[in-house]
C-alpha cells in the first residue's frame, strides 16, 4: 500500500446503535428472563469488548417458546396471504429504514467490515423479506398445488457468519407460507436477532409468530428435538448437521440442512484475469472467509498459474485488514477465539504437510481475533487444507491441466455447495456447470446472492433449497 496517499481513519459512528446492557428471550411478543436465570456475554471480536449480556435459554424456555408459536400458528396460518404479506413488507421497510443501525450492530457483534454489512448483508436482508412478501399471496402459483398448507412451528438454528441474513433466509419464507417460528441465533452473534425481535414488535407482528431464543448449542439441540416442532431448518457445520439429522430421524419433522463447503474456484487459461483475481479475492476473503460457499480451493490451469498467482499476490497486498467499523476496511476480525484457533491449526497443518504459505505484510491489531489473508501454493488433494473446511481467510491453490481434470478435482470432496468457473468460453461454462456436483455454480463471478435464486448443497453440504420459488417448498406441506 502506498504511503503517500494514506487513507485517514473513516470510522462509521457507533452512536447510531443503542445496545442495552442486557437482553432477555423474545417469547410471545415479550422479552422475558430465562427460567434458569442463566446469562452469557457477547463480545466484539475486533477488540474483545463486552457488548451486552444475553440470556441462555434452557429446555423450559424452549417449551414456552414452542407453545407460544403453536398458539400463534392457528391465527397466523389462517390469515389471507395478502395480510401476511403486509407484515412482511412492513418488516422489510423497517429493516431498510434501520439499515445503518443494523449494519453497525452486525459489524460490532460479528467483526465483519462495515462496507460488507452496509453494502451486502443489509440490502440482501431487506430484499429477502420483500421477495417472500411477494410470494405470500401467490402460493397457489408456486407449483405446489392450488392451496398449499404451512407445516406449523418451525425450529430454526442459524450460524454466526451472516447473523441477520441467515435469519432472513429462515424467517421470511417461513412466515410467507404461514408458519410460525422459534429461531436460535448463534451464541457469538445474538444481537441482530434481538434487534429483529424489536422490528417485529414495531411492525405489529402478532405475538408468538416470531420467537427468538438466545443460547449455546444445548438450546439449539433442545429446540430441534422438541416434539411439537414440525419443521427444522439449520445452517451451520456438517458435524452439527449430522447430529440434527440423527435427532430428527424417525420423526415426522421436515428437515433442511445447509452445511459446510469446500468450493472450487476454477480458473481457465482464457479467463478474464483481472476480474478472476477479483473473484478469487471476493470468493475467499469476503466476510473473512466465514462463508459456507467460499471459494476456498483455487483450481488454476497450469499454463496461467504464474501470471495469475503474481496478480493475486499483488492484489492481496492491497487488502486492508483492521477495524470493522472503518469504511475502508476490506477484512475484519475473525468471529471468535475458537474459530481463530481452528483456522490457525489448519493453516499450521498446511505448512507442516509441505504446502507453501504466503501472506502479505499486514499489521494486525493486538486485541481481538485476527488472521491475515493467507495463500497456500503447492497444495495437493492429499493435504488437509484441500479437504477440510477452514472457514477463514485461507486459500488453497491447486492446479489442473485439462477441463476433465478440473472437474475431477473440483468434485473430489465430500462437500458440494458451490463452485466458480472462469473462462471467456460460453460453451465451457455450460459444460462445466453440468459436470460440477455443486448446488450453485457461478460463472465469471463469485459469492453473488439474490433472493430469487435458490441456494443449497449436494452431498455433505446438505439438502433443501433456500431462496427463490424452491425455497417455499421447505415450508409447505408438500
Amino acid at each position: 500500500m502506498s504511503s503517500a496517499f494514506e487513507y485517514a481513519p473513516a470510522p462509521e459512528s457507533r452512536a447510531v446503535v443503542d445496545i442495552a446492557p442486557s437482553y432477555g428471550l423474545f417469547i410471545d411478543g415479550e422479552f422475558t428472563e430465562a427460567a434458569g436465570g442463566k446469562v452469557f456475554k457477547t463480545v466484539s471480536p475486533a477488540n474483545e469488548e463486552v457488548l451486552s449480556e444475553v440470556t441462555q435459554a434452557g429446555s423450559e424456555d424452549v417449551e414456552r417458546a414452542v407453545k407460544a408459536a403453536r398458539k400463534a400458528f392457528e391465527k397466523w396460518s389462517a390469515l389471507p396471504g395478502a395480510e401476511r404479506a403486509k407484515y412482511l413488507f412492513r418488516i422489510a421497510r423497517l429493516i431498510q429504514e434501520r439499515s445503518r443501525e443494523l449494519a453497525v450492530l452486525e459489524s460490532l457483534d460479528n467483526g465483519k467490515p462495515i462496507r460488507e454489512s452496509r453494502d451486502s448483508d443489509l440490502p440482501l436482508v431487506a430484499a429477502h423479506f420483500f421477495y417472500y412478501a411477494g410470494w405470500a399471496d401467490k402460493l397457489g402459483h408456486a407449483g405446489y398445488g392450488a392451496d398449499p398448507k404451512p407445516l406449523g412451528v418451525a425450529g430454526q438454528v442459524i450460524p454466526w457468519n451472516f447473523p441477520l441474513l441467515m435469519l432472513a433466509w429462515k424467517i421470511a419464507p417461513a412466515l410467507a407460507c404461514g408458519n410460525t417460528v422459534v429461531l436460535k441465533p448463534a451464541e457469538t452473534t445474538p444481537l441482530s436477532a434481538l434487534f429483529f425481535a424489536d422490528i417485529c414488535r414495531q411492525a405489529g407482528l402478532p405475538k408468538g409468530v416470531v420467537n427468538i431464543l438466545t443460547g449455546d448449542g444445548s438450546a439449539g439441540a433442545a429446540l430441534v428435538a422438541h416434539p411439537d416442532v414440525n419443521k427444522v431448518a439449520f445452517t451451520g457445520s456438517t458435524e452439527v448437521g449430522k447430529a440434527i439429522a440423527r435427532t430428527v430421524a424417525g420423526t415426522d419433522k421436515k428437515l433442511t440442512l445447509e452445511l459446510g463447503g469446500k468450493a472450487a474456484n476454477i480458473v481457465f487459461d482464457d479467463a478474464p484475469i483481472d476480474q478472476a483475481v477479483e473473484g478469487i479475492v471476493n470468493g475467499i476473503f469476503f466476510n473473512q472467509g466465514h462463508v459456507c460457499c467460499a471459494g476456498s480451493r483455487l483450481l488454476v490451469q497450469e499454463s496461467v498459474q504464474d501470471e495469475l498467482l503474481a496478480a493475486l499476490k499483488r492484489r492481496m497486498s492491497t487488502l486492508r485488514v483492521g477495524d470493522p467499523l472503518d469504511k475502508n476496511t476490506d477484512i475484519g476480525a475473525i468471529n471468535s477465539a475458537e474459530q481463530l484457533a481452528r483456522i490457525t491449526e489448519l493453516a499450521d497443518a498446511g505448512e507442516a504437510e509441505g504446502a507453501e504459505r504466503w501472506a502479505p505484510a499486514c499489521e494486525l491489531p493486538d486485541a481481538g481475533y485476527w488472521f491475515a489473508p493467507t495463500l497456500f501454493t503447492g497444495v495437493t488433494q492429499a493435504h488437509r487444507i484441500a479437504q477440510e473446511e477452514i472457514f477463514g481467510p485461507v486459500l488453497s491453490v491447486l492446479t489442473f491441466r485439462t477441463p476433465e481434470e478440473a472437474v475431477a478435482k473440483a468434485n473430489n470432496t465430500p462437500y458440494g455447495l458451490s463452485a466458480g468457473v472462469w473462462t471467456e468460453k460460453g460453451s465451457r461454462i455450460l459444460w462445466m456447470a453440468n459436470q460440477l456436483r455443486a448446488g450453485i455454480v457461478w460463472s465469471n463471478t463469485f459469492n453473488k446472492f439474490d433472493p430469487a435464486s435458490p441456494f443449497g448443497g449436494y452431498k455433505e453440504s446438505g439438502f433443501g433449497r433456500e431462496g427463490g420459488r424452491h425455497g417455499l417448498e421447505a415450508y409447505l406441506d408438500v
Binding site: 502506498s2 504511503s3 503517500a4 496517499f5 494514506e6 487513507y7 485517514a8 481513519p9 473513516a10 462496507r115 453494502d119 482464457d270 479467463a271 478474464p272 484475469i273 483481472d274 476480474q275 477479483e278 473473484g279 492491497t318 469504511k327 475502508n328 471467456e424 465469471n444 463471478t445
Partner: protein, 331 residues
C-alpha cells in the same frame, strides 16, 4: 520485472524495440491484441464501484485535493475561444485561488493549436505546461499529412504536450497497424528542432470504441507505438471518462509496465466535475498502480469545472465552512 523507464525518456525506445515482433505486421499485431485477456464487464464495473466506496477524510482528503489540483489539465476547447479567454484561464491555472496563495498550480493549460502561442506567453515562468490538442481534434477525420502538420504547428508554437486523437474508424474496422503507424508518425512530429520531444497523449475516445475489450487492446496498441500518456476521451461525445474505463486503462498501464518496464501516464477526461469524482479516480490510481503514479507526471485530469469544486472543498477543509460559487473565480 524490468527496471522502470519513463515513456518520454530516451531509453523507452529500446524497450519498445524489444516488442517489435508483435508490431511487425498487421497480422502479428492483430494476433497479439486479440490474445490479450478478455475483460468481464460486470466484474470490472463491480471493482470500480467498490473502489468508489473508499471514504477519504480529513488529512487524506486534504492531500488528495491538492494532488488533484496539481494534476489538472485545465481545458478550454471551444470554437468561441479568444486570446482573452485563454489568458484568463492561464491566470487561473497559475493562481487558482486568489484567497489562498498556497493553493497548488494546475499541471497544464489545454487549448487548440492556434491558441498555443497565447497560452505559452501567458504562462511564461510559471512551470505550467501548455497542452495542445492536435490531429484534427476531436473527430480525427483528416488526411495524415494534415494531422502531422497540425501537430508540428502546435509544437512549433511552443506546446509542451500534444493530445492526439486516434483514427477510431481504422481501429473499429480492424486496421490496427494503420492506427499504430499513425501514432508513431505523430510522435515523430512532436520532435522539436533541438531534438527533444513534446510529450504525446493519445486519446482513444473510449465512448466510441464501446467495448472494454477494445479499450484494453487500444491501450496496448498506443503504448507499443510510444504513447507517453493514454487518455480516455475528447470530452466532445456523449460518453466520456468513466471509472471502469479508466480502471481498465490503469490495469493496462500496470501490465505494460510489468512487461516492458516503460512507465506510461493516464488521463481521464470529460465528465469529471466534482471533488468526490476526483477522489475516486485517485483511489483507483493508488490501489492499481501505486504511489509512483500519484504525480502530475503520470496522472492527469482533463477538466474545466472540476477545479472550482476542488477549490470550494479546499476552502471548506481549511475554514470549516462551505463557501459557494461566488467565492471561486469564473474564468
Amino acid at each position: 520485472m524490468p527496471t522502470t523507464v519513463p515513456a518520454y525518456g530516451k531509453e523507452a525506445a529500446g524497450r519498445l524495440a524489444s516488442m517489435a515482433d508483435v508490431t511487425a505486421s498487421d497480422g502479428a499485431l492483430r494476433r497479439f491484441l486479440h490474445g490479450l485477456p478478455g475483460v468481464d464487464a460486470v466484474g470490472l464495473q463491480a471493482r470500480a464501484a467498490t473502489l468508489g466506496t473508499r471514504s477519504i477524510k480529513t488529512t487524506a482528503k486534504a492531500y488528495a485535493i491538492d494532488l488533484a489540483i496539481s494534476m489538472i489539465d485545465l481545458t478550454t476547447l471551444e470554437g468561441a475561444d479568444t486570446p482573452g479567454k485563454v489568458r484568463a484561464l492561464c491566470a487561473k491555472g497559475i493562481n487558482p485561488d486568489p484567497t489562498d496563495r498556497g493553493t497548488p498550480r494546475v499541471a497544464a493549460i489545454c487549448v487548440y493549436p492556434d491558441m498555443v502561442a497565447t497560452a505559452k506567453e501567458a504562462l511564461t515562468g510559471s512551470g505550467i505546461h501548455v497542452a495542445s490538442v492536435a490531429t484534427a481534434f476531436p473527430a480525427g477525420r483528416a488526411a495524415l499529412p494534415v494531422k502531422l502538420a497540425d501537430t508540428r504547428d502546435a509544437v512549433a508554437a511552443g506546446a509542451d504536450e500534444i493530445d492526439m486523437v486516434i483514427d477510431r474508424g481504422a481501429f473499429l474496422s480492424g486496421r490496427y497497424l494503420s492506427v499504430f503507424e499513425e501514432i508513431k508518425q505523430v510522435k515523430e512530429a512532436c520532435r522539436r528542432e533541438d531534438g527533444s520531444y513534446a510529450h504525446l497523449k493519445v486519446i482513444f475516445e473510449t465512448g466510441e470504441l464501446q467495448t472494454y475489450d477494445n479499450v484494453r487492446r487500444v491501450s496496448w496498441l498506443a503504448m507499443l507505438a510510444g504513447a507517453d500518456f493514454i487518455k480516455t476521451s475528447t470530452g466532445k461525445v456523449a460518453v466520456n471518462a468513466t471509472p471502469p474505463v479508466t480502471l481498465l486503462m490503469l490495469e493496462a498501464v500496470r501490465d505494460f509496465h510489468a512487461t516492458t518496464g516503460v512507465q506510461v501516464g493516464v488521463k481521464p477526461a470529460g465528465g469529471i466535475r466534482t471533488t468526490k469524482d476526483a477522489m475516486k479516480y485517485l483511489v483507483m490510481v493508488n490501489e492499481t498502480l501505486g504511489e509512483e503514479w500519484l504525480t502530475a507526471d503520470w496522472f492527469r485530469f482533463g477538466a474545466s469545472s472540476l477545479l472550482n469544486d476542488l477549490l470550494m472543498q479546499r476552502q471548506k477543509l481549511s475554514t470549516g465552512r462551505y463557501s459557494g460559487p461566488d467565492y471561486v473565480t469564473v474564468d
